[in-house]
Point group: C2
Chain length 183, copies 2
Amino acid sequence: MIQEITNPIAIQSREWLTNALLVLMEEKEFKNISITEIATKADLSRRTFYRIFETKEDILVYYIDKLYGEFLQLLNQESDHRFAVTIRLYFQFWYEHRHFLELLRRNEMLPFIMNQYSRLFPEVFQIVKGNHPLAHNTEALSYAMAFSAGGLLSILLKWAEDGMDKTPEEIMQLMEFVFPYSL
Amino acid sequence: MIQEITNPIAIQSREWLTNALLVLMEEKEFKNISITEIATKADLSRRTFYRIFETKEDILVYYIDKLYGEFLQLLNQESDHRFAVTIRLYFQFWYEHRHFLELLRRNEMLPFIMNQYSRLFPEVFQIVKGNHPLAHNTEALSYAMAFSAGGLLSILLKWAEDGMDKTPEEIMQLMEFVFPYSL
DNA sequence: CCATCCTTGTCACACTTGTGTCATTTTGTA
DNA sequence: TACAAAATGACACAAGTGTGACAAGGATGG
């Protein structure tokens, strides 16, 4: 579980630990990385790690959470909240972070993204749902949101599994075929 | 990684270990269950655990894999392969296994299902894709499959997160609203 | 300047993990 | 029955884990 940290020193330690793990993941498998290693790489004691995170997985959760925060900020800067525009931003955002997705893919941890994803997607839909045809039906809307969120996440994972060779534009073009026939 | 096991004794051990973990998960958190505990509960030595699984997570992966195998078998018994019928079977199947989903939910491990899910869904679509309007466009079809698979999984997870109070029929009724407006 | 709060480092401890080795038990087959 | 194959158990070991306790360091506000 991620604590609420406000102290600048602790924030710095958290960043160091996060960077240390990401650097280590370049060279070796996630499961073979020990907490001792992460702390050493971050020039911190092992004890400090346990004061900030519970497990090394928590570092990834924190990092993904941070990325989603950045994405939400992007969305708020954009004035056009039509679905097509939002989805384009979504794919472009993850394309820019494709290296991180590649790190997850190598370790078969892509589904891991779903943890934070399902928690944060409501916030995204909060922004765009004004246009939604089910805006009047709260329950149906929440399930429609869940469906779309899972669908888009799944597209992202497939894109990543395929090596992210396609550009965001190519994915968008595919989506135009996909949406009308999603089921 | 799950090994290919054919020997009846090894299969029995695998089942014992699986049941032991599921029983232990009734009483305590997954992360607080040690492999020593699982092996003891299964009346096996810890060494035997490591001959069959690499981690305790692998037990869940194996179990989920087994469940999907059962679901595929159900699909093959059904002659009507329209989407609506298939999806109804899907929700009914997981409703019957809602207790297991509840165990995962408690441990915030629902997204875990996605691992095997994304790997096995192509087999499901293999069965039903004859009806699909994109059957001629291989690449678009594979992305449409990914979208639908992720969407359905997401619905399942939301259903489980909400405590699985709704019946499969109620979920199906909601889906009729959701599909036409999924995006 | 000092008191205080927060963070970190160090040490210690019991426990768990993952693996190697080899004897023992069980299964299936000739 | 006897023998080969396979699975298990017992033991050992280095390494890692998670946590408690306490001292030391740095930043902040009065």
